[in-house]
């Protein structure tokens, strides 16, 4: 009798645990407003049984009818950039990598998507040889192999330098887009990436000339225009201080990026970037992913440079400190 009661209790307990877990996940998903879109990069917008109502709502629009890529009036909210560690696992068009190579992790409400970790399978820390769909030049492949297989030890972002190019949208901190049509500009504010912003010039001006001192910068020079409901941003003028991603895909100052932003529904920002860098790759390649909307989130302060013990303690490959006198 006692055993039967114990078994019955166990069954009830397990069922309760399952139900409670499912409920908590649902609540968290609803609170974060982002889990389903984050799951697997937002494909299909389904996640763990929870359906995010924002995914069936249309994107808000500005009074002039333009798609609003930011907050609706009177509402909070932020874009929760996912954590994509390997751009090589996010290619589209150039022979998409097998799904298994993407190394995706569940979104869990905050837009966390791995880019693959660990050594071995394609798309993970196996180096350039495991990413035949990325059109590496030989030096770029060697650079990538070194840094990827070295656990990204010298990642500029670990030094609190900003992410450049598409990595701005693959560094897992919130981001906001503020449209100012009356000023003919759009401003992106990034909480991570050391609190950087981008100003997208929408006034039809040409790019800065390359010889301009500002013509080589961390985030490049951005000019944009609308093609229907798609915001197209053309970016040139990068310096060579950043990596394309955490795993270490390099780029040069010849990099030209065309970004396309769409908001297929209220809960999703679709991001696509074509990377054209004749200094590092043999042909352009395109990456894309979805960025979920966190309907209750707000930006916080994150001043990365404050106390970077990682950088202060870092040693080079022969054991000498990166910062301070050599021994």
């Amino acid at each position: 009798m006692r055993n039967r009661l114990s078994i019955r209790f166990l069954v009830v307990a397990l069922a309760s645990a399952f139900l409670i877990t499912a409920t908590v996940i649902t609540l968290l998903a609803a609170q974060q407003g982002s889990a389903p879109a984050a799951e697997g990069g937002g494909r299909g917008g389904r996640g763990r049984g929870a359906v995010n109502p924002l995914l069936s709502q249309p994107a808000p629009r500005l009074p002039d009818g333009t798609v609003n890529l930011g907050r609706a009036p009177g509402e909070p909210g932020i874009w929760q950039d996912p954590y994509i560690q390997n751009m090589g696992a996010r290619n589209v068009f150039v022979g998409a990598p097998p799904a298994a190579a993407r190394g995706e992790r569940a979104g869990r409400g905050g837009g966390q998507i791995g880019g693959g970790e660990g050594a071995g399978p394609a798309g993970q820390r196996g180096g350039a040889a495991t990413e035949p769909w990325v059109p590496f030049q030989p030096w770029a492949a060697a650079f990538y192999n070194y840094n990827s297989l070295n656990n990204s030890k010298y990642d500029p972002e670990g030094y609190c330098l900003p992410p450049g190019g598409p990595r701005l949208f693959a560094t897992p901190y919130p981001m906001e887009i503020i449209q100012q049509p009356e000023l003919k500009r759009i401003v992106f504010i990034f909480e991570g990436g050391t609190h950087v912003w981008r100003e997208i010039h929408m006034d039809g001006r040409p790019h800065l000339k390359n010889e301009a001192i500002k013509g080589q910068s961390w985030l490049g020079d951005s000019v944009g225009h609308w093609e229907g409901d798609t915001l197209v941003v053309d970016v040139v003028g990068f310096n060579e201080g950043t990596w394309l991603d955490y795993f270490g895909h390099p780029h040069t100052d010849q990099m030209h990026i065309v970004e396309r932003f769409t908001r297929p529904n209220k809960g999703t920002l679709h991001y696509e970037a074509t990377i054209d860098d004749p200094g590092a790759y043999t042909k352009p390649w395109t990456v894309a992913w979805d960025i979920p909307w966190n309907a209750t989130g707000e930006l916080q302060e994150y001043i990365c440079q404050e106390n970077n013990n990682y950088f202060n303690r870092l040693t080079d490959d022969v054991g000498q400190p990166i910062v301070g006198p050599r021994q």
Binding site: F9, A13, S16, A17, I20, T21, V24, I25, L28, Y83, Q85, R108, G109, G110, G111, Q112, G114, E117, G118, N150, N151, S152, K153, D155, E157, G158, C160, T171, P172, Y173, E191, G192, Y246, Q300, E301, Y302, I303, C304, Q305, E306, N307, N308, N309, Y310, F311, R313, L314, T315
Partner: protein, 133 residues
């Protein structure tokens, strides 16, 4: 609600809370060794609520020799911990806490905290280990 159900609910919340994404800053594997697990209790001697990682320091007494070692432990960023519910009152100097995580590769008394147990509550520490192995 029975005590058992409360326990299950608490376990579920802890499970979910620990699964909330953490923020990445630097390579975990370049500095820490996942195979060098640490699990110790000690007295908090200092807390630095600073970016990009909150650091706290703990005096840990060796039960055999009685020797006290001060460990520096890295957590996530202040914004990440805030989103996980941490406040400045969660951890204070003088508190006895338990730390689980991974030690630095270089053998120094520095560790990455995966979980911190304060007042009997096990808290996620927004460690970079989960996302940057």
């Amino acid at each position: 609600m029975t005590a058992r159900v409360q326990t299950i609910l608490l376990a579920a919340i802890v499970l979910i809370a620990s699964a909330i994404p953490v923020l990445a800053h630097h390579s975990f594997a370049a500095e820490f060794d996942s195979s060098k697990a640490i699990d110790f209790s000690g007295v908090v001697t200092k807390v630095e609520w600073m970016n990009p990682h909150v650091y706290f320091y703990v005096d840990v007494k060796d039960p055999q020799t009685g020797k006290v070692t001060n460990w520096g432990c890295e957590m996530g960023s202040p914004n990440g911990l805030t989103r996980q519910g941490w406040t400045r009152n969660t951890m204070k100097i003088g508190m006895v806490i338990r730390v689980e995580g991974a030690a630095a590769k270089d053998g120094s008394n520095v560790a990455n905290a995966r979980n911190v147990t304060v007042d009997g509550k096990k808290l996620g520490a927004a460690s970079s280990e989960a996302t940057n192995p």
